[in-house]
C-alpha cells in the first residue's frame, strides 16, 4: 500500500506535465500567428518583437514549451490582453470565489443526494424510489444555465426574495458569512448543485441497495439488529465510494461552473473564462484552464489517496 501511494504520487507528475502541454497548445491551435494571441492587436512593433523573444516564439515548439513552462512554474501566467494586468492577479481572487461556490454546491448536492439515494436504495421499487430516481435523472438531464435563468425570474424578479447576481453587496473582496452575503450564494449554489445531486443519488442508491442485499445484512437483520445499527453499517461501507464521487464532483463543478457563473455574474473563474472567450483574451483563457486542470489533477490524486486509506480492501495493481 505504501508503494502504491508513492507510485500514485509519482504518476501525477507526468500527468501534470502533459496537462500543461495541452494548455500550452491551446494558444498554438488558435487560428493565426500565436503572437497575435498574446499581444494586443494595436501593440507597437517593438513590443511585439520583445514578446516574441521573451516567449521564444521564433524557436522550435519543444523549446517554446520549455520557456513557457519555466515561466509558469515561477508563477508567471502572462498578461491579460484586455486589461494588461497579470493573469495570476485576476485568477487568484476568481479561484477563491469559485472554490466557495463549488464547495457549497457540492456539499449541498452531496447531502441531498445522500438523502435521496439512501431513501431510494432502502425502499427499492417503492414510490419513494421512483420519485428519488426521477429527481436524479432530471438533475443530470436539465441544462442548468436554463434552470438558473428560470430561478432568477421566479425568486429575484417576481418574488424579489433573493439577489440575481454578484457575490455580495460589496463584491467578493469583503465576503463574510452573514445573511447579506449568503443570500447571493443561494441561487447559483442551488443551480450548480443539481448535477452532483443527481449523480450522488444514483451512486448512493446503487451502493445502499447492494449493501442491503448482501447476505450479512440480511443476517444482521435476522438477528434483530436495529435500523440504527444497519444504518451505521451501510454508511461505513458506502462512505468511501460516495466520498470519492463527491470529491470528483467538486472538481467538475470548479471546471464546469462557467455557464452558471455567467448567468449569475458570479465573479469566479467561470466568469473570467467567459469574458476571456468573449474578448478573445487567450492568455487569460490559457491560465485559467491550466490552473483549474491542475486543481483537478491534485483533487483526483487526493481522492485516490483518501479512498485507499479509508478502504484498504480496494486493491490497486
Amino acid at each position: 500500500m505504501f508503494f502504491y501511494l508513492i507510485r500514485r504520487i509519482l504518476y501525477a507528475i507526468p500527468i501534470a506535465l502533459a496537462v500543461g502541454f495541452v494548455c500550452f497548445m491551446l494558444v498554438q491551435i488558435a487560428p493565426g500567428d500565436p503572437i497575435n494571441a498574446i499581444v494586443p492587436a494595436d501593440a507597437p512593433g517593438d513590443v511585439v518583437e520583445q514578446v516574441r523573444r521573451d516567449y521564444g516564439l521564433d524557436k522550435p515548439l519543444p523549446v517554446q514549451f520549455g520557456i513557457w513552462l519555466m515561466k509558469v512554474v515561477q508563477g508567471d501566467l502572462g498578461r491579460s490582453l484586455a486589461t494588461g494586468r497579470s493573469v495570476w492577479s485576476d485568477l487568484s481572487s476568481a479561484i477563491s470565489n469559485t472554490l466557495l461556490l463549488a464547495t457549497v454546491a457540492s456539499l449541498l448536492g452531496f447531502v441531498l443526494g445522500c438523502i435521496l439515494g439512501g431513501l431510494a436504495g432502502t425502499f427499492r421499487g417503492s414510490f419513494i424510489d421512483r420519485a428519488a430516481t426521477s429527481i436524479a435523472v432530471a438533475g443530470v438531464s436539465v441544462p442548468h444555465y436554463w434552470l438558473g435563468m428560470v430561478l432568477v425570474v421566479i425568486f429575484s424578479v417576481q418574488l424579489n426574495w433573493l439577489p440575481a447576481m454578484g457575490a455580495g453587496p460589496g463584491g467578493s473582496a469583503d465576503w463574510a458569512w452573514d445573511w447579506e452575503h449568503m443570500k447571493h450564494l443561494i441561487l447559483p449554489a442551488v443551480t450548480l448543485a443539481v448535477i452532483p445531486m443527481g449523480i450522488v443519488t444514483r451512486t448512493v442508491r446503487g451502493l445502499v441497495a447492494e449493501i442491503m442485499n448482501q447476505e450479512f445484512v440480511t443476517a444482521l437483520r435476522g438477528k434483530g439488529l436495529t435500523r440504527g445499527g444497519i444504518f451505521v453499517h451501510v454508511v461505513k461501507n458506502a462512505a468511501p465510494n460516495a466520498l470519492a464521487v463527491m470529491g470528483l464532483q467538486l472538481g467538475y463543478l470548479m471546471g464546469g461552473s462557467i455557464l452558471v457563473e455567467t448567468v449569475f455574474s458570479w465573479p469566479g473563474t467561470g466568469l473570467l473564462l467567459n469574458n476571456a472567450i468573449f474578448q478573445r483574451d487567450l492568455p487569460v483563457l490559457q491560465g485559467t484552464i491550466l490552473v483549474l486542470a491542475m486543481f483537478f489533477v491534485a483533487l483526483n490524486l487526493l481522492v485516490d489517496l483518501v479512498q485507499t486509506a479509508l478502504d484498504p480492501r480496494i486493491k490497486r495493481a
Binding site: 441544462p143 473564462l273 476571456a276 472567450i277
Partner: protein
C-alpha cells in the same frame, strides 16, 4: 454534465462483468433483451418519444407550418396558443413550432455526431489498446489519462474557445471530450474478453488477430460500449447547447435549441413560456436519452 466520468472505475468494472456475461450469451440473448425491454414501460415511452421527435425533425421541412427564417415584426413574441402559431412566435416573429422542429435537427446533429465520432475513434483505439496490450496499451491509455485530467465542460470550452466559434469547431471539441471515456470502457471490456477461453481457443486454432478482433471481440464489446455511448448523447446535447449559449457553437439565423434559448433570454420577461421552450426541448430529449440508456443497460445486463 459530468455523468460520463463520475465513477469510471465502477462503471468499468461493471462493464467488464457484462462483457464476460456477453461472452456466454446464447442465441436467445437478444430475444431476452427484447422481452425485458418490452416489460419496461419507461424505456418504451422514452424510445417512442425520441422516435417521434426524430421523425418530426427529419421531416421538419414537410410538416413545419411556416418558413423557419421568415418572420414579421408585427407578430413577434406571441404567446402559446395563438392562432396559426400554436407555440407562439420568437423575437423576430418567426413561428416557434417551426423553429423548434428545424432547430432540433442541428441540436440532435450536434448531440449525436460527436458521440458517434468518439464512438468510432474511441472504440478503435480502446480495442486496439485492450487487444494489443503492452506498450501500445500503455501509450494509448496514458494519453487518455491526460485528457481525463480535464473536467469535460472545461475541455470543451477550452478547445472551442481557442479555436473560435463555429459548428465544426464545437463538434471537434466535443468529440475530443468524449473519446477518452469511450477508450477507457472499450479497453477494459476488450481486456476482459481477450482473456476468455474462447478467444484463446480461436487463437490456438490459428485465427489471425484481425479475425479474432472482428468475430469474437467486436461482437462482444460493441454492445456494452454502445450502451455507454447512448448515455453520453444526453451530456453531449447539453454541452453543445451550452457552447451555443456561450456563443461558441451555432451561428444565427440557424435555428438551434441552445442558441434559441440564448436569443430568447431577453424575452423571458414578456413571454416566459415561449422563452423557456427551447430549454424544455433540450431537457426532454436529454432525459429521454438518459432513461433509454438506463433501460438498455438493464435489459442487456442480466444482473438487472
Amino acid at each position: 454534465m459530468s455523468t460520463t466520468s463520475s465513477t469510471p472505475t465502477a462503471a468499468e468494472a461493471e462493464l467488464a462483468i457484462q462483457a464476460r456475461q456477453a461472452a456466454a450469451r446464447s442465441q436467445g440473448y437478444w430475444a431476452g433483451v427484447w422481452k425485458r425491454l418490452r416489460r419496461d414501460p419507461v424505456t418504451i415511452v422514452c424510445a417512442l418519444v425520441l422516435l417521434a421527435m426524430f421523425l418530426a425533425i427529419v421531416f421538419a421541412p414537410l410538416i413545419a407550418p411556416h418558413d423557419p427564417y421568415q418572420g414579421s415584426m408585427l407578430r413577434r413574441l406571441r404567446p402559446i396558443g395563438t392562432e396559426n402559431h400554436i407555440l407562439g412566435t420568437d423575437e423576430l416573429g418567426r413561428d416557434m413550432l417551426t423553429r423548434l422542429l428545424h432547430g432540433g435537427r442541428l441540436s440532435w446533429f450536434m448531440g449525436i455526431t460527436p458521440v458517434f465520432l468518439a464512438f468510432v475513434i474511441g472504440t478503435t483505439l480502446g480495442v486496439l489498446a485492450g487487444f494489443a496490450g503492452g506498450r501500445v496499451n500503455m501509450a494509448i491509455m496514458r494519453a487518455t489519462d491526460v485528457f481525463y485530467a480535464f473536467p469535460s465542460v472545461l475541455l470543451a470550452v477550452a478547445i472551442s474557445g481557442a479555436l473560435g466559434a463555429g459548428i465544426v469547431n464545437a463538434i471537434l471539441a466535443l468529440t475530443l471530450v468524449f473519446i477518452p471515456p469511450i477508450i477507457r470502457v472499450a479497453e477494459s471490456v476488450t481486456t476482459g474478453v481477450r482473456n476468455l477461453d474462447f478467444v484463446d481457443a480461436a487463437r490456438a486454432s490459428g485465427a489471425g488477430a484481425f479475425t479474432i478482433v472482428r468475430v469474437h471481440v467486436l461482437g462482444n464489446v460493441l454492445g456494452p460500449i454502445f450502451v455507454y455511448a447512448t448515455s453520453l448523447i444526453s451530456v453531449c446535447m447539453i454541452l453543445a447547447s451550452g457552447l451555443s449559449f456561450l456563443g461558441l457553437g451555432t451561428r444565427p439565423p440557424e435555428p438551434e435549441w441552445g442558441l434559441m434559448l440564448n436569443t430568447l433570454r431577453t424575452a423571458i420577461y414578456v413571454q416566459p413560456w415561449v422563452a423557456v421552450l427551447p430549454g424544455a426541448c433540450i431537457f426532454v430529449t436529454s432525459i429521454c436519452f438518459n432513461l433509454l440508456s438506463d433501460g438498455l443497460r438493464q435489459a442487456m445486463d442480466v444482473k438487472g
